[in-house]
Amino acid sequence: MTKELYTGAEMVVKALSALKVKYIFGYPGGSVLDIYDAIFNQDDVEHILVRHEQAATHMADGYTRATGEVGVVLATSGPGATNCVTGIATAYMDSIPMVVLAGQVATSLIGDDAFQETDIVGCSRPIVKHSFNCRKLEDIPNIIAKAFYIANSGRPGPVVVELPKDMLIPQNKGEFHIDTDVQLRSYNPTVKGHPKQIKKAVQTIANAERLVVYTGGGIVLSDASEQLTTLVERLNAPITNTLMGLGGISGVHPNFLGMLGMHGSLEANKAMANADVILALGARFDDRVTNNVQKFCPNATIIHVDVDPTSISKTINAHIPVVGLVDKVMAQLMEEMDATGYERNEAALTNWWQQIEEWRSVNSFSYQAPAEDDKIKPQQVVEAMYEITKGEAYVCSDVGQHQMFAAQYYPFAKPRQWINSGGLGTMGFGLPAAMGAKLAFPDSHVICITGDGSVQMNIQELSTCLQYNLPVVIVSLNNRSLGMVRQWQDMIYGGRHSSSYMESLPDFVKLAESYGHVGIQINHLSELDEKLNEAFAIRNRLVFVDVLVDEKEHVYPMQVRHGAVDDMWIKKGEKA
């Protein structure tokens, strides 16, 4: 019996199917047309045609953040591949597993500046976990399997696979073989923490008087939120999450102090600044958290648990470094606590919580509620959305003031509910990410909270939403300006609003309608609740809600630049 032979293009699709990929997000073009032809001939893998490759990467990313499955992108060589760069960098910064299949000109043309040629492996090198070139079509399935394994293990991240045209064409065929159980001699991420370090960590925790648990996106990525909650309750420790870690513990949990950092709560930042022990779990001491590293938590012993050794002692020196997967290490910590008969220091805890409650009573996430005829405050819109969706929606945000308001005023009950570009701060992320989440969970409310600036960075995807029936609710906090830029210009640049106004905004209602969706504008406070309810009641069509909000509103609290973690503006002109 002769073995069946496949083209490289067929192998790509068969490999994806073998890896249980449901969706790929992409855009056709010359060098990958053979793959598109192979997609046409099967039903396992569905292709979602976006309108811009950047959106394909964000959509795959949103799908991944919502589900935990590896997102897959397909782009043609040259401009298709380079359009993916922002989305790859976004995934890289937030450790999102992604595989980007990028076309390439035929190997005989590589280096000739051929039509639609760019060195995408070179272009993406600083923003990928790894990249592959395919030089033999028989290698394609195993390269794709390796790409998935690398993308989704250790500290996850994006992997680029470059596929030259001549590897894909019908003239070349080979046998299909895939080994999904990947072993690499040069890549063996550490899974469990070192027992000595675990011992040290537990001892340090047991001796702590002012412990704070500081967690990040690692908790969400490793689906370790239940374990985290158990650990926190056992320690009765105050806990704070980074922007990426929101939902890692319920936003309404009594031990939760709110987000920390630049726009974090006073109590979270105060607790960090005054802690004697910080247990950092899957968080990387980003500069949006630490503020001035020289002044960061001077009296704290830092236990830093991270799967990525490079994250440890990169910006803040860790006294007890623990390399390992955060869920595995938490289990080890609990086992060690059982073994050593850990008991809480209740007296110290009572004092510590008393102090924290004092900071909490300042209520730093509060804003001046407007009088009846005044402009709508953006925070009110987020609060109203929380009410209407009962806190159960997937909230995908763009980047800017609205992102911070959403993080502050929508307490996330569960991980993966809050989807935003934390590390790179990519405007244009929100809508495609929401589309990815909606594709994964069609029956859930999926909100894209955005602004008039951000939403215009990938607004063409309204067209994709119509094609695939992705009825997300877009809520734009329209302040006719680039809000966060404007806020910095107000606070730091003497009110000189250089290029932060959006003039000649489109009529977003008509724009949504022209794409075949529903557009609603909210102009007055009196109609906010009613019209938002109306928007969320529509479940089978996309609704674009354009809310005209107070353009002068700033995000508070805000860390004072170059200050300690708890040097904060509580409101305009008032420091903590």
Partner: protein
């Protein structure tokens, strides 16, 4: 502080560019870099001379280790090691006096004259970077240096310790 790092990695296209890219991207210094396949042709070995304090070095080692292609990295400066660099230097040798001097200095440094032209000698010297600097300095006092090329250092640990898979 100067450091010598030895890196063992997969002999794959693009591996070297990942290492070099990492150094430039993270603003780490590369003083010299040598690379060649090892006795196992699936592996390459890189020696990088760099500089930095303990924190910088820790980050360099961790970041390099994080690259998927990298199998092992070790800091040779930490322990006793052998370090060598090759220098090829072309010197103006117009007259007998200069030729004699060049030969004499080369002998002192255990260098060899490996090529002779009508007016030039090419000398090969091996040793650590300091020795090569000293040679260049000594020979420059006698004649003009026309051209020189240095390989960058290679290093290997003394004794039983070995960097291998």
């Amino acid at each position: 502080m100067r450091r010598i790092l030895a890196i063992l990695l997969e002999n794959e296209p693009g591996s070297l560019s990942r290492i070099v890219g990492l150094f430039s991207q993270r603003a780490f210094n590369i003083e010299s870099l040598t690379v060649a396949p090892t006795e196992d042709e699936s592996l390459s070995r890189i020696t990088i001379a760099t500089s930095g304090d303990d924190c910088v070095l820790e980050q360099i080692v961790k970041q390099v280790n994080k690259l998927i292609d990298v199998i092992k990295i070790t800091d040779l400066t930490e322990r006793s090691h052998v370090e060598r660099e090759l220098l090829l230097i072309k010197l103006l040798a117009m007259n007998d006096k200069t030729r004699t001097e060049v030969k004499r200095i080369a002998d002192i440094f255990r260098g060899n004259i490996v090529d002779i032209g009508k007016q030039v000698y090419t000398v090969q010297v091996t040793g650590d970077a300091e020795k090569l600097d000293a040679f260049i300095s000594a020979v420059s006092n006698e004649t003009e240096v026309i051209e020189s090329v240095r390989s960058g250092c290679v290093g290997i640990a003394r004794g039983e310790k070995a960097l291998r898979v």
